[in-house]
């Protein structure tokens, strides 16, 4: 291949590199914004919309391993919070009985 055509191809490759990287960054940057929006949406509507019971049911059925300490049931109360409270009540009653 002669040097002239290689030079023009190189120029084209360089412009592709520039456009490509700018586009990849802006696309994924936009996605970052998108994820933040989704997170915000999900914290505003944590699950009391129609699909809530389905989600809760399925979660009970599937019993998928989830991040420990942050499993929520349908009402949005963390299960381990309930567990902690009931353990505390249990301990409280026990100490009261003893005294």
């Amino acid at each position: 291949m002669n040097t002239d055509s290689v030079a023009s191809l190189l120029l084209e490759a360089a412009s592709l590199m520039l456009i490509g990287m700018v586009f990849v960054f802006s696309f994924l940057g936009l996605l970052i914004l998108g994820i933040h929006l989704i997170a915000k949406f999900c914290s505003v509507f944590p699950g009391e919309v129609a699909s809530e019971s389905v989600v809760a049911d399925r979660r009970a059925n599937a019993q998928q391993p989830s991040v420990e300490g942050s499993i929520t049931d349908g009402s949005g109360i963390e299960k381990n919070v309930i567990a902690a409270i009931s353990a505390a009540i249990h301990a409280h009653r026990k100490t009261n009985k003893n005294s």
Binding site: M1, T3, V6, L9, L10, E12, A13, A14, L16, M17, I19, G20, M21, F23, V24, F25, F27, L28, G29, L30, L31, I32, G34, I35, H36, I38, A39, F41, C42, F45, P46, G47, V54, V55, R58, R59, A62, S66, V67, S70, T72
Partner: protein
């Protein structure tokens, strides 16, 4: 005597050409790597065997009427197989690490620099005698730097079908070599103190977020880069099947039976492209060399970007995780974890590295879409 001659003519011995023998050795080499060295055996085994079959004289596996010819035509010429694989990969991918820490997308983007730098390098190789890469060829070679097998095969089948065999072999070989290629680069670019940085625990990601995420990705792709929708669309479809939870049967099929079936045929079809006339060229050497460079540059830019983010964020990002930006899921993330553990035996970076790792998959699919849109 005539009969004897006829019998001799019908043996392979009378028809072997040097190139076929060499390619059969290449096939055996791939089988050796798969079986003994356990390098990406799921792909290199069918590819190696396909290379053996396609180089058998007289049998004509890859000529019109032969089995491999049809498998190639149906699955790769049309682009169907890599897309089905992508659906399966989507059904196996868990985005929660990325959703919990969306900044990691920047690392996935930075690592794609390997692709575009290699595109430049492939064109520059034309200055040497014996190389004549067009812009399409160069783009197909460069995508090796995306470290994503199905993406590389998809793009090569669109842009440079003649180079597909070499590109696929290079892509899968380098993915298997990630644990050897990456650590020296990662160590050279970071100090021990940086490698020891511990990262805070990731927040919990609700199922609702995981369901909306693939739809949002697809929506953005539809708006800004329709050329990437075959790849991203199938990927998001697979992921949605996994996360929505109502089609567990379909999701399981996509992650197991379907992807396994397609992998068998994809491997054989790629192997059928390893014929002497297509593979034994100086261009193949160039492709293998460029692939390694693409990988190295992608790793380096990922780590450098992570260093920058670490500096800007006040040092709560371990720069090692940038190396996982070159997809190669989950191998690259495991390598990050291993190098992190070497610096600090109590520092487990695996979950943090999964974020840039899956971001890299999205990034390379986006890069492939850009190349398709601008070059294809």
């Amino acid at each position: 005597m005539d009969k004897l001659l006829l019998l001799w003519e019908s043996t392979a011995l009378a028809h072997f050409e040097m190139g076929q023998l060499v390619m059969m050795l290449v096939g055996f080499g791939l089988l050796y790597l798969a079986i003994v060295k356990k390098f990406e055996p799921l792909l290199l085994l069918p590819i190696g065997f396909g290379a053996l079959l396609t180089n058998i004289p007289i049998a004509g596996f890859s000529e019109a009427g032969g089995l491999l010819h049809y498998i190639y035509k149906i699955g790769i010429d049309t682009g169907v197989f890599p897309l089905l694989i992508f659906m399966g990969v989507g059904a196996m991918t868990d985005f929660s690490a990325l959703i919990a820490n969306p900044k990691m997308l920047l690392l996935g983007a930075a690592a794609q620099f390997g692709i575009f730098a290699t595109l430049f390098g492939a064109i520059a190789l034309n200055l040497l005698p014996g190389f004549e890469f067009t812009l399409k060829d160069a783009s197909a070679i460069a995508i090796i730097g995306g470290a994503d097998g199905p993406t590389a095969i998809f793009l090569a089948s669109r842009l440079a079908p003649d180079l597909l065999g070499a590109i696929a072999v290079a892509a899968y070989s380098y993915m298997a070599l990630v644990p050897i290629i990456q650590p020296p680069i990662m160590k050279a670019l970071t100090s021990k103190a940086e490698r020891e940085i511990k990262m805070g625990q990731l927040r919990f990601v609700s199922q609702r977020e995981k369901i909306i995420f693939p739809l949002a990705v697809l929506f953005l792709t539809i708006l800004f880069l329709p050329a990437a929708t075959p790849l991203v669309g199938m990927f998001c479809f697979g992921n949605l099947m996994k996360e929505c939870g109502v089609v567990d049967r379909l999701s399981k099929t996509a992650q197991n039976e379907l992807i396994n079936t397609v992998t068998i045929f994809l491997g054989l079809a790629v192997g059928s492209k390893l014929s002497a006339e297509a593979f034994l060229t100086v261009e193949t050497l160039g492709i293998l060399g460029l692939g390694a460079i693409a990988f190295a540059i992608g790793t380096a830019t990922g780590v450098l970007m992570a260093k920058l983010m670490s500096k800007l964020s006040g040092g709560d990002i371990n720069p090692l995780i940038g190396a996982a930006g070159v997809s190669a899921v989950p191998m690259a993330a495991r390598v990050v974890n291993k190098v992190g553990l070497e610096a600090n035996p109590h520092n487990f970076l695996l979950m943090h590295a999964m974020g840039p790792n899956v971001a890299g998959v999205l990034g390379s699919a986006v890069a492939a879409g850009i190349l398709l849109a601008l070059v294809g």
